[in-house]
């Protein structure tokens, strides 16, 4: 009744091409953005901003990065965290070593560095297909992890190998406060998601999906496989690099290679499996789940009589639950939470009718 398309006719292809053809969607999105940009920084408390919203946004971005490569272009990757690390460390080195470089430029260049490294480890995809490709991204994961610890230059020769974030100044405004970091993250994430949406709906997005679905046929109809795959790796790397830089500087405040290990790569893969492969919204849903679930679980546990389940056990339970959830999603809803949301919307379009 409220959420329907009646009366909304597109008369030009350009209207049909819009990201959100339904008027209700456009209004809804505008409202959401208004709340996110204006209301939240005012009313949000520091805990929610720093510990929930910022990691949620950054992980959504990382999820999108991996989704471009794995969900849209069909190239399986377990090296996401390594590319995040490259972005983080590159941004750090640029900030520290190059005087007067604006922060946003450093982050962008950090993303670029990650894009190049990712494209490099993506070269084998021109010869290797499917499951075997894991070897290349795993090699990236381990090699980058090793290189960043081994060569002290990357961490500015600090004794512990841990680096702390420089001040976040944009156009002279200091953003170190939680609200400031939140706004920085939000802006970058929204901008990159807008770009991402255009990308996946463009010719390149179609070429990625063609390569994913049947690359021999794609080649036969003229799609350049090498360029398509390498662009997927590069753009994915860029997104992951920016996410890594934000993770280090807007969220943690410090950076160490250990925080970008194989477990982090798994985490991002879980985000896109739970959220939905080949979906933009799915990244947000998956990231929200990954961020909120541990909080929910430990809150639940603290409600139980004291000492029944100790902190270590909670971690084990969480692990088991995640694993079980992955299997459940793969069986029941391989297209993830995004598909569930889509089905809900479809029901909403017909409401109050049933079908």
């Amino acid at each position: 009744m409220f959420y329907r398309e009646a009366g909304q006719f597109n008369t030009r292809y350009a209207e049909d091409r819009r990201s959100f053809p339904l008027r209700q969607d456009r209004h809804g999105l505008a409202a959401l953005l208004a709340v996110a940009f204006v209301v939240v920084p005012w009313v949000g408390n520091d805990y929610w901003l720093s510990a929930i919203l910022i990691p949620f946004l950054v992980l959504s971005l990382a999820g999108l990065g991996l989704n471009l490569l794995t969900g849209y272009a069909g190239q399986l990757s377990l090296g996401s965290a390594a590319f995040m690390a490259v972005g983080a460390f590159a941004t750090y080195n640029l900030e520290v070593r190059v005087d007067g470089l604006p922060l946003l430029i450093s982050i962008a260049l950090g993303g670029l560095a990650a894009a190049l490294v990712s494209a490099l480890f993506g070269l084998p995809s021109l010869r290797i297909k499917g499951f075997y490709l894991l070897v290349s991204t795993l090699a990236a994961q381990f090699f980058v992890g090793w290189a960043l610890t081994r060569f002290g230059w990357f961490s500015n020769n600090s004794a512990s190998g841990v680096i702390s974030a420089p001040r976040l100044d944009i156009f002279g405004v200091n953003l170190d406060a939680p609200a400031g970091r939140y706004l920085l993250t939000l802006t970058v994430v929204v901008a990159l998601f807008w770009l991402g949406k255009n990308l996946v709906r463009s010719e390149l997005g179609r070429q990625w999906m063609a390569v994913r679905d049947m690359d021999t046929a794609a080649a036969v109809i003229g799609i350049p496989l090498a360029k398509t795959k390498l662009l997927a790796f590069a753009l994915s790397g860029f997104y992951l690099g920016v996410a890594g830089a934000l993770w280090a500087f807007a969220y943690l405040g410090t950076v160490e290679p250990h925080g970008f290990d194989l477990n982090r790569s798994f985490q991002i893969l879980f985000i896109i499996i739970i959220g939905g492969l080949g979906s933009l919204l799915g990244n947000f849903l998956g990231a929200a789940f990954i961020v909120l679930f541990p909080v929910l679980l430990s809150n639940l546990v603290s409600l139980l009589p004291g000492g029944l389940i100790d902190a270590g056990q909670v971690e084990n339970l969480q692990k088991m639950f995640f694993g079980a959830l992955i299997i459940l999603f793969l069986i029941k809803e391989p297209e993830g939470l995004a598909r569930l949301w889509q089905r809900f919307r479809e029901r909403a379009r017909l409401w109050p009718l049933r079908y």
Partner: protein, 293 residues
């Protein structure tokens, strides 16, 4: 020169251990077509169960049998809950399911038995043996012999028994196997149990070496390069792949390490596997997939 051979043989013997873990993968891949990422978790769980039982005073062979029984239960559960519902899906989906499975088993193992390191004494002394002017670890030799007997046992199983025939049929074409009346589910349970058994043996050997602890499940990450080089479907390939990875890893550590830096054994096998893939995408012994358009 002798030092070189010492390092080489040490590496080969370490490679035997890798091969042992890889064999578990090959078994499951041959029969279910899935790369079982949870194999490492299975190794951990079986070893943890065994060691915890030992610590509680259970005699050696009883503990072994109980652990084996636990692996059988896991095999049944996995077949029911994971394999059956996902029977027609893509290999990548199955792989991701085993990823989830590894989390479940790891979490369960640690929830049940705790997270501390357990020492494991198998009664083999670690005194080096002198052979032809080289010092070799007795333990390594024992491990190599165990692996060899295990391989002989498995070869007999695959090639000389009816069960082995059924396993090979399922590995080749599950649908055709169904058509001739082979009980797919039973075969899968058997295979996963055998893989669990192999995992248990591997877990005991590894555990005696490194102590039974969480990092045991990470041996799975070493198995992948082994399988790339040896092919996913060949046991002899797993052995040879294991030997190659073990030897090259040790040699690289000793000879390249001082130049490039320590700790390269983490990525060196992967680099090697990658180079290999670029030249021979199906491994040394694996089957080349022919794509019909």
């Amino acid at each position: 020169m002798e030092f070189f051979f010492e390092v080489l043989i040490g590496g080969l013997l370490a490679g035997v251990m890798y091969a042992l873990v890889a064999i578990g993968f090959v078994l499951i891949y041959k029969a279910s077509g899935v790369f079982n990422f949870a194999q490492g978790a299975m190794v951990l769980f079986s070893a943890l169960t065994f060691v915890s039982l030992l610590e509680r005073g259970v005699p050696f062979w009883l503990a072994f049998l109980i652990s084996l029984a636990a692996m059988l239960l896991i095999a049944v559960a996995v077949e029911r809950v994971v394999l059956r519902p996902l029977v027609n899906r893509s290999p990548i989906t199955l792989f991701m399911a085993t990823l989830g499975l590894s989390y479940v088993i790891e979490g369960f193992a640690q929830a049940l038995w705790g997270a501390q390191v357990h020492g494991l004494d198998l009664g083999i002394s670690d005194e080096p043996l002198e052979l032809g002017g080289m010092l070799l670890s007795q333990f390594d030799i024992f491990a190599a012999l165990t692996a060899a007997s295990l391989v002989a046992l498995l070869s007999w199983l695959f090639n000389k028994t009816r069960l082995g025939l059924a396993l090979r049929a399922v590995a080749d074409d599950p649908l055709a196997a169904l058509a001739v009346g082979i009980r797919l589910q039973r075969v899968w349970v058997v295979v996963w149990t055998v893989a669990g058994f192999v995992g248990l043996v591997a877990g005991l050997l590894w555990g005696a070496r490194l102590g039974v602890q969480f990092s045991l499940s990470l041996v799975v990450l070493k198995a992948l390069p082994v399988l790339i080089i040896g092919g996913f479907t060949s046991i002899s390939g797993a052995i040879i792949g294991g030997l190659i990875i073990g030897a090259s890893e040790k040699l690289a550590e000793v000879y390249l390490g001082p130049i490039i830096g320590s700790g390269i054994e983490n990525w060196f096998p992967y680099g090697l596997a990658l180079l290999f893939l670029l030249v021979r995408p199906a491994g040394l012994f694996g089957e080349r997939a022919i794509e019909r358009v």
